[in-house]
């Protein structure tokens, strides 16, 4: 009998030997070989109760058995992804028949500054290097054909779950890739609306990846474009694509934020921070100030903007200070008539929503999460700077602030 112990191995006490063996014997009675304990470690994380490998093999067999999809005659187009807050080139009303829309996303783990003032940073997990990931736009009945690649220098496993898709955990079950790998997934956009997508590698890694920025949105337009409640067409001049991201950054004892050498190194401490359900930051487009000041969104009086708001993890309540939501699909579904004339709308965690507004006054508008603590202290603020002429009928400063004598 060979017993080999590496030099670094802890000495094994006689007590351990006995305990291990007795446990093994007891376990044998119940048929289980594994015993677990977490004596010195707080907060064990439960394993997800996913079906075992046999069930997954059944799905695999059914996929192999399935008749091939008939894609004959479908035109292929390539959609070039662009960085948020911008939207890819697209038609609002589809011309021609459904198409196969090819998109490419590259998983890129990169160190990003969350807040310059405090030095808070995160090894963000991104699709195409941005938080949120790029906006994909197709029409109902189009096919999205995604090539998902992971850079060789990445550290972790990733995949993608499209809420707009049908089957295999939103594609999550078919797209797990390791650094240096790629995969291609095709899915049909059957439901019109705006939808979240996000990474979902399994168990606690799901919120870990999602709360490191690994999420974004797909917009599936009705083939004949957006409509109001009476069926009249609605069009927009611009899209503002806003991804709200809650971060849970681990802190040092003195309250400063921890820094890490590598993606993945913050796993245990991130899990502890996430367990509080209290984000250290809630920001638009990856970092504090990403859409304010010189980075503000721009528009003009008379122009219509479609604001797409994605929040893959946590409820939020967008509000345009100084303006409104003229037409709002707050649940994201374009199958439903939009709500009209809203002050604040609700985006459920794990969804995207859309709000349309036509600017009527020039100046600065703040677009915020109207939990104002999150807007002002955690970072959830964007600005629109709007050019054009002032309308005194809508608002006029009748008396400038002056001493009242009261």
């Amino acid at each position: 009998m060979t017993k080999f112990i590496n030099p670094g191995l802890l000495p094994t006490s006689r007590r351990n030997v006995l305990r291990g063996s007795v446990l093994a014997g007891a376990a044998a009675m119940t048929g289980s070989m594994v015993t677990g304990s977490t004596p010195s470690v707080p907060n064990p994380v439960p394993n997800p109760n996913l079906p075992d490998a046999r069930v997954l093999r059944v799905q695999q067999r059914e996929m192999e058995r399935a008749a091939p999809a008939d894609l004959s005659g479908l035109e292929r187009v390539r959609q070039k992804m662009v960085r948020p807050p911008f939207a890819p080139e697209h038609e609002q009303v589809a011309t021609g028949d459904p198409k196969i829309v090819e998109v490419e996303m590259v998983v890129d783990e990169r160190l990003m500054v969350v807040d310059e003032d405090t030095g808070a940073s995160i090894w963000a997990m991104t699709y195409n290097g941005s938080v949120p990931g790029p906006l994909i736009i197709v029409h109902q009945d189009d096919y999205v054909e995604l090539t998902l690649k992971s850079l060789s220098r990445n550290q972790l496993e990733h995949n993608i779950d499209f809420h707009a898709s049908t089957g295999a955990l939103g594609g999550g079950g078919l797209t797990h890739i390791y650094p240096g790998e790629e995969t291609v997934l095709r899915w049909k956009a059957t439901k019109p609306g705006v939808f979240t997508y996000h990474c979902a590698p399994g168990g606690a890694m799901i919120p870990y990846h999602v709360c490191h920025g690994m999420n974004g949105a797909v917009m599936v337009l009705p083939r004949d474009g957006l409509k109001d409640g009476d069926g009249n067409p609605l069009t927009y001049d611009d899209i503002a694509y806003i991804g709200e991201q809650d971060y849970y950054l681990p802190r040092n004892e003195d309250g400063t934020f921890k820094t890490y050498a590598n993606a993945g190194d913050d796993y245990a401490e991130s899990l502890e921070a996430m367990r509080t359900l209290t984000p250290t930051h809630s920001v638009f487009n990856g970092s504090v100030g990403a859409l304010t000041g010189t980075n503000a969104l721009r528009s003009e009086v008379g122009k219509t903007v479609l604001m797409i708001h994605n929040q893959a993890n946590r409820d939020t309540r967008p509000h345009l200070i100084g303006g409104h939501g003229n037409f709002v699909w707050e649940s994201g579904s374009f199958s439903d008539a939009p709500q009209t004339g809203l002050e604040t709308w609700f985006i459920r965690g794990g969804s995207a929503g859309a709000a349309m507004y036509t600017f009527e006054q020039p100046g600065v508008y703040a677009y915020v999460n109207h939990n104002l603590i999150e807007a002002a202290i955690l970072g959830a603020t964007a600005h629109f700077v709007v050019d054009g002429e002032w309308d005194n009928d809508l608002m006029e400063q009748v008396v400038a602030p002056r001493t009242s004598g009261a």
């Binding site: 009998m1 093994a24 009675m29 972790l156 390791y178 240096g180 168990g203 245990a268």
Partner: protein, 143 residues
Amino acid sequence: MLRSLISTAAITLALSAPAFAETFEVQMLNRGEEGTMVFEPSSLRIATGDTVKFIATDRGHNAESVEGMMPEGSEAFVGKINEEIEVTFDVDGYYGVKCKPHFAMGMVMVIAVGDGDAPQEGFLEGRMPRNAKQRFEAQLNAF
């Protein structure tokens, strides 16, 4: 594995095992001699019936068997994150073990049970992250 044993056999084992079975401890670490995210030791040879206890020295790790990297007739095991599981190995052969969240970072180890001087056929053939494969290769060479 032991599932196939009837209870009398299990009792016999429980009574007789302390005479020779041993428990080995493997630490789950954020940083060790092989780099970041490691099991230590990462190559471990044990005798049939010995137990390995995975120690959560650092948090955020787990220990679980790698599909396709276990001898025929053995059972898969999965520890929770931060859980210190003890696994008894009754089937001879080579076992690949991984930490699920850090598999792609190469947090793996090899446990050789019994005297076999080479892993079973196809041990390294499955799809796995590059970092994991490199470390598995080094760990096999260390035996």
